[in-house]
Symmetry: C2
Subunit: 331 residues, 2 copies
Amino acid sequence: MPEFRQNMATKEWVVIATERAKRPEDFLKGKEARPELPAYSPTCPFCPGNEGKTPPSVLTMEEDGTWKLRVVPNKFAALQPQFSTKRERVGRFLKADGFGIAEVIIETPAHNATIATMDGHDVQRVVEAYKSRQVAISQDPRINMVTVFRNHGPKAGTSLEHPHSQIIATPIIPPHVRSPMTQATLAFDTYGSCVFCDMIGEELRQSERVIIETEHFVALCPFASRSPFETRILPKRHNSSFTTISDVEIEDLARVLKTLLRKIYVGLDNPDYNYIIRSAPTTDEDVRFYHWYILIVLKLTTPAGFEIGSGIYINTTYPEQCAAFLRDVSI
Amino acid sequence: MPEFRQNMATKEWVVIATERAKRPEDFLKGKEARPELPAYSPTCPFCPGNEGKTPPSVLTMEEDGTWKLRVVPNKFAALQPQFSTKRERVGRFLKADGFGIAEVIIETPAHNATIATMDGHDVQRVVEAYKSRQVAISQDPRINMVTVFRNHGPKAGTSLEHPHSQIIATPIIPPHVRSPMTQATLAFDTYGSCVFCDMIGEELRQSERVIIETEHFVALCPFASRSPFETRILPKRHNSSFTTISDVEIEDLARVLKTLLRKIYVGLDNPDYNYIIRSAPTTDEDVRFYHWYILIVLKLTTPAGFEIGSGIYINTTYPEQCAAFLRDVSI
C-alpha cells in the first residue's frame, strides 16, 4: 500500500509510491556513462597554471609549496559585494539591490577528482574551508544567511567539470528558510526540545534508515525522503550553526561525507547530485530549536506538475531499501 | 545591476541575475528537435481503439458519436481510492494510508496534438473537463485538496506522448499549500483586500509584464518570476476556487490558454513545461483572501544547490523581456 509520510521538522508530506516502487538497482539501468576526465585541462580556469583566469583568492591552502585548495570570488556571480542592501518599492512590489557574496571553492588541483575519489585528507581540507569561509563571511553585518553547496554533474546544474563547491551569502532570509525555523520553534515550545535532535533519536531507535553512524554524526535516508536516495548527515551534538563545528567533528564529518559519497559513486555509478549545508541564518546562530545538517539530493528523477503544485513529492523508492542498499555497498 | 525581487503574495524572493542575463532567443540555441509524432499510435493506451487498456472512463465527452475526450482513473496511480484516510504514529513519526484519487484526462483522440496545436473548441472541452472533475471530486468528504496539472515533455516528468492532463486529489493539505494561504490571510488582515487582486491591479498598472489581457483574464510573467518565461494566467474576478469558473470565463480561459501556449510553442520551439491550476483546498473554497490561478513553468533551466538550499531562485532573464518576447510572437 502506498503511504503518506510527514517530515516531523517541516511538516511537509511525501508519498512513498509502492505501486510504482523501484528497487535501488533500477536506477542503474540505461544510465549514460560519464566521460572520463583528464587530470589536467589546459583550458580549465580552475586548473593549476590558470590562477590568473580567476579573481585573486580569498583563501589558499598550501602543502609542499603548492596550493591544494583555493577559494576565489565567483567571477560570474549572480550577486555582487559592491552593491548596497537598499530595499525599495516599485509600486506595490518590493525589490532590493543585488548585494551578496559569492565564492567558489576549488577543492583540489586535480581536474578529474571528486569528493568520492579524493583522499581523506583532501576532503577534510574542503570541510575546513567551508567552515573558515562561512565564519569569515558571517562577520559581515550586511549578511544574514550563508549557503554552502556543491553541484555535481549537469543534471545538478553545473557545467564546470573541475571539482568545486560554492558559497552564496545574502542579506535576504526567505520564507523557504524561515518557515521550517518557525515550525521548529513551535516544536520547541511544545516539547521543550530541538525537533531535529528528537528526529535523530527516533531514526537511531528505528535504525533501519541509518547508513553510517560515527561518534559525532549519523548519515541516513530520512523517514519522509522526498526522492530516491535523499540522504542527510546530521551532527549528534545540538547546534544550530555549522560555524561551531569543532576540529574533531570536522575530521569525523570529512570521513562520513567521503564514505557516503563513495558509496553513492560506486553503488549508483556516479550520479549527479546537489548537497547543501543547512545552517541557521547568522541572525539565529545560537538557538536551541534549530539544528544544522547536510542535505544530499540525487538527481535520479524529475519533479513534475504535482510536486510543483502541491509540494508533496512522490517518491518511488522506500527510504529503508535505499539505506540498506547503501549500507551494503562495499568501497 | 542584479536585483532581488519579492513575490508580494508568498514573500518568497528571487534574484534577477543581470550579469548572466540571457535574451529570450538564447534558449533556442542548441535545442534538440522534438521527434514528429504520428496522429495515431497502435500501442498507445490513450489512442482510439485501445480504450480497453485503460480503466473504464469516469467522464466521456462525445461528438458525432465518437469520443473527443475521456477521463479515466490513473492505472499507475501513486495514490488509490480503496484505502482509508487513517493517520498513525510510527514512533515519533506520522504516516497515513495512501488514499487519494488520481485521474488522467485524455484530451483528444489525436496522438500528436497538444494544447498549442488543438483547435479552440477542443481546448475549451479540456477546461470544461477540468472543472467538471474538480467539482465532482471535491464532493468527496475525504478529499481536502484537488490538484489539476499538465506535464509536457520528458523534462517536465512525462514519458507518455499522447496529450493528457492529470488530477491528483488528497486528504492531505501540505505546508507548501497552506503557507502561502497563511501569508495571504495576513495580507487580508492588514489591507482588507485579496493580495492576488492587488497584484493583478499592480501588474496591469505597470503593464510591461502583461502578455495577454482579455475581459476576464490576464496572462503575465510575474514581477518575481522564479525562472525564464514563468507565466501565470489570473482571473480578474476574485474567487479562491477554480470550481466557480463560469461558462463565459471557461470560453475566455480556453482562448487565453491556447494563445499563450501557442506563443510559447512557436516562439520557443515547443519547450517542455508543467502547468498547474492552483486553487484553494476544498476546505477553503469561498474565502476572500485567496485567488485561484494557473502557473506555467517552462523547463529551460536546472535549479541547483543554492535554489534547493535557500529557496531563492536565480533567474537569468528579465520577466519584462520574456513578456515582450511572447507579446511579439505572431501565431
